[in-house]
Amino acid sequence: MNKNQLISSLKKIIQIRAAELNILEDFKKNNISSFVHFCIGQEAIAVGVAMATKKKDIFFGNHRSHGHYLAKGGDYKKMIYEIYGDQRGCCNGYGGSMHMLDQKVNFLGSSPILGSGPPIASGMAYAQLLKKKKNISVVFLGDGASEEGAFFETLNLSGLLNLPLLFVIEDNYYAGETSSRFRKTKNYNIKKIINSGFGFNFEKANGQDVEDVFTKTKILINKIKLQSSPSVLYCKTLRRSAHSGAKIDLDSQYREFDSEDIHLKKDPINYILKKLIIKKITKKKIYSIIKKSFFFENEKFRKIRSRIKIR
């Protein structure tokens, strides 16, 4: 990623982070009429994938999709309205936080039922193929959902039909509050399953590092287009908030790999900061961008929030 791309990704991550933090604060005050899953800490995956894809490419999300939606360029106002149940929301206030939609930018929906997204996204990818369009489809799923039978069925069917489909697995270690070591056999190896089992392309990325996600996504998109076969991007990431709701629960008993220090050190914003310093941008300038961006986003949220009519 060049300097400008890194700055753009930084601003987008801040947009998502600020939105999430503002919603979280309001959630604590019981002002949100929606069940919310925050993506604080996981923003780099959505932003990296979105920057590597084109507007015409399709996104389909899951229960934790505010980041995917905003990264894709989804209408910010409509998302906020939706979460508050305002009828000006992206789903007219009927769907809530778990139903993000902006057809104008090809964000074609999200499903909160784990493992249900991949089959639906495969249908969207198939529709594009039948219409002879050259875009790809992307579906986001958590590591818990990647243990569902529907995921494996869809991998096979997508391969059979040569669908231009990218599966993005966001592995934040926990399915709800169950750590991966309680869910997977000792020798569970997703790379082998995808590479050797299905014969599909697989890339592992550091989900905290937007550039790594961006680069690996680009590699896979090229392969999808060249080989007409689905691919899997597997991103390790850190979920700062609880599975759902407004709690930041790093000290909860179920947590095994987390501490405030680790989360701060591996924060996506810190990764970009280091990269920008290498590209000879002063710390002062970077902090100024961060500060201004947060201020701008907080003000934007505040204005929209003041206009919300909760039904």
Partner: protein, 355 residues
């Protein structure tokens, strides 16, 4: 002028699909075995009739995704039990797609689901979960029994903006009835009335029609008669048809011929609504002839006792209405009880479509 002709319900389903495959670019058929010769579809449009792996969840979900992008896929599940694996996609996703998202973002996916009795099919291949689908707002539920209904319902899939489930009683595939070809169907009847005197009404749906027709024939041979109402369609956001309830309420003696266990079933829902609307005044008698609240056994000897049959229905009618006259009829043979019936519904009956 388009002539009417006698065809089986199964043939009507096939004919409608063949026509749509030829005429509609966005109509597709998915499932296991759909490319077999017996389906008679693959040769018509090889690229739109797609054989699927044993992966019900993924290919049904794929159909949901396709439907959201302008296609009209029809997914085949030859047994209800197989479709249960896909309830997430049918109920949680397809049926509330436009509700979750937006009214103009539609998902007109449809599912053909084989349901009900079949020789030797036993407890895990004969379940009748009509209520499961009927309890899901946003989903059209169709239960064809007449050939015309079957044809119209498939055509209606091209018109509706809602997802649909066609619950096909396999028992009915070789039941013939009068049928007329159409080019488009924009409205479906919710039931069909086979006219008779207002004294006795047999209220049924799906394969219950077979037993009701047999009872009507026997009664007529004995200079008695009855009316039959066969329910066939429940629109996505309206389960009770006013016209249907009005028609039923005109009868004083109503016999519910249910081939599913009655408790919390389709007919119980209808009759419950009728009682509320009529304030229990008009209806004199409601009797239920249905299987026990148990799954259907596999063995022929046990299955014989399970479903309603003309014997059981006639006994109940004679007993309740105190008909002293002896009703003569031939006892059912083994084949008549256990094997898929094959006969034509008389063209002499006067039919009325209820909307």
């Amino acid at each position: 002028m388009i002539k009417s002709k006698m065809i089986w319900m199964g043939e009507a389903l096939k004919l409608a699909q063949q026509n749509l495959l030829k005429k509609k670019n966005n109509f597709m058929v998915f499932g296991q075995g759909v490319s077999s010769d017996s389906y008679g579809l693959k040769r018509i449009a090889p690229h739109k009739v797609i054989e699927m792996p044993i992966s019900e969840v993924s290919f049904s979900g794929m159909a949901v995704g396709l439907a959201s992008q302008g296609f009209r896929p029809l997914v085949h599940h030859i047994r209800t039990e197989f479709s249960l694996l896909v309830l997430d996609q049918i109920l949680t996703h397809a049926s509330r797609w436009e509700f979750n998202f937006k009214k103009d973002y539609i998902c007109p996916v449809s599912f053909r689901v084989g349901i009900g009795r079949g020789w030797g099919n036993g407890p895990q291949h004969t379940a009748t979960y009509h209520s499961v689908f009927l309890q899901s707002p946003g989903l059209n539920v169709m239960i064809p029994a007449f050939a015309q209904d079957a044809y119209d319902q498939i055509y209606f899939l091209m018109h509706t903006n809602n997802p649909s489930v066609i619950l096909e009683h396999r028992w009915m595939y070789k039941i013939g009835s009068i049928f007329k070809k159409k080019q488009a169907v924009k409205k479906l009847n919710t039931a069909t009335l086979i006219k008779g005197p207002k004294k006795i009404l047999l209220l049924t749906y799906g394969d219950g029609l077979v037993d009701c027709i047999k009872v009507k024939e026997i009664l007529m041979k004995n200079k008695l008669d009855c009316s039959i109402i066969c329910i066939s369609f429940f629109p996505a956001y309206k389960r009770f048809s006013k016209q249907l309830l009005k028609e039923i309420s005109e009868y004083k003696n109503i016999y519910l011929i249910d081939t599913s266990p009655y408790e919390f079933g389709l007919l119980q829902g209808i009759i419950g609504e009728l009682f509320i609307l009529s304030n229990k005044k008009k209806i004199k008698l409601v009797k239920i002839i249905s299987p026990p609240f148990k799954p259907c056994p596999t063995s022929a000897k046990l299955a014989k006792k399970y479903y309603p049959n003309p014997d059981k229905i006639l006994n109940k009618i004679c007993k309740n209405l105190k008909i002293k006259k002896k009703i003569n009829y031939k006892k059912l043979t083994f084949n008549e009880i256990h094997l898929n019936p094959e006969f034509n519904i008389s063209t002499n009956y006067k039919l009325k479509r209820i909307y």
